[in-house]
């Protein structure tokens, strides 16, 4: 999905997750920590399919990771078993070693939740933040939102 503004094309990464029995609580709706697993899955699929940068290889072979240092979330409406959620991801701000994301889940036109995680690129052995590599940074830039925060 692409939106143009000022000559630049801003992409939004999207994928779908069906709400399963295992995501639901005794009230029959998604238990909110399961939403955060879906947020993490969205970041993972974005790396694999959107950025062309395997999440598994980054962690298991290259020794880098993208831990979440903070996150905000709003749960606008409940999701029920069987709902197919469309997850959308864009980059609000791309720092030297960090990325502010906006991730939403919708079912049809209905907004279910919005999350705003901040990821930091770290060398896992030391736990220290490191600058995004140039190729990864270039890929991420394609997802910079039209209403991006100043970097």
């Amino acid at each position: 999905m692409q939106t143009g503004h000022g000559g630049r094309m801003s992409e939004i990464f999207q994928h779908q997750i069906k709400v399963l029995f295992q995501h639901c609580d005794p009230a029959g709706i998604v238990f909110y920590p399961r939403y955060f697993e879906m947020v993490n899955q969205t970041v993972e699929e974005w790396h694999d399919a959107g950025l062309g940068h395997s999440f598994a290889q980054m962690h298991m072979e290259s020794g880098y990771g993208v831990p979440t240092v903070s996150i905000g979330a709003e749960f606008t409406a409940p999701s029920k078993m069987g709902d197919v959620l469309t997850w959308s991801l864009s980059v609000l701000r791309l720092g030297r070693t960090s990325a502010h994301l906006r991730i939403t889940a919708r079912c049809g036109g209905d907004l279910r939740m919005t999350a705003t995680p901040v990821l930091v690129y770290v060398h896992m052995e030391s736990g220290r933040p490191v600058p995004w590599s140039d190729p990864l940074r270039a890929e991420m830039k394609r997802y910079l939102s039209g209403d991006a925060l100043p970097g």
Copy 2:
């Protein structure tokens, strides 16, 4: 996938699940309770896509469920982040109110785990086993394995 034997066609239900970061333990391999979540997801997808009998509708509207009363599992080889697992399901034995399943996970040709759950069809309010409905039973029969146990 179909295998013929003695004039009857036996189907195997298949779907795929990618091993995600969230499935893996500090050793970097699938934590075995996460395999059981995938086994449950396989049963759920089988209902939705294989049997044409919505798992969500069965639970939330019709008031029936298929709790697992026993399960055996063997973990043949570990699975790592990024592995795409092909899950296969067939019915070993179809009782009046129960079904014995065999579910396997493979990555390429490599067997990773085998599970043999026994499900019982229950009316959820009472918790009592009830006979499979005729249409559901007819659908399930298509997945009866060639080496099925005597019913």
Copy 3:
């Protein structure tokens, strides 16, 4: 734990959770959606042990619930398998149908995470917010923080 201010005693609810193998990711540290399970467990224990208002009975018998409508979280330092986390809960603001909480996890003196969930009291059948009952509200007030937000 109690802190005095202006003649009123403000209580902080505390309990402990050990970081288990199942909470940890391939980097050997707590996977952040598991922290939100611990946040939910802290709210649950607060109801059971702090407020004397059984969380199970509220949901399963009385038909009320306290869904989280928004949450913010900061992950200050990673937690490792075997760490014993002390969780502390206080009420920042108590509305007519809602409660703003501050929940922290510490290991020894080391701050690991802070969460600020907003709960709403709802009648589960209708999904509508309802005013806190007087006894529940009176119990919750004991945990109002000294630096509480104006109600």
Copy 4:
């Protein structure tokens, strides 16, 4: 808890886990993959508190692990939110590199589930089974069941 037979005292390791909101499914009862998380927690607490052999240190510092290679389980009766489960662990058979366990969960006198996992002691880097160390083996022997399988 101890039971004598033929002059030898056989110990059973026990601890308790309360059934939380997060363990329960849309039917309001424990979702069975959560039971396997509790089984793993029981093995972990047994190492820490029963065997005096820190599960965290074994994995993170010594580089050994105890993966489950097979497991059987029977779910005898459902457990509900708020139930306090008493988990009991004994050793059915202690091999050179493996241990067959029996783990049960009861609420009051009511049996809820029985699991029979087989663990193997492995060196995590190579993934190869290794013989139990003599001190660990000596500790495990204290939990050998009176109706132990021949070693």
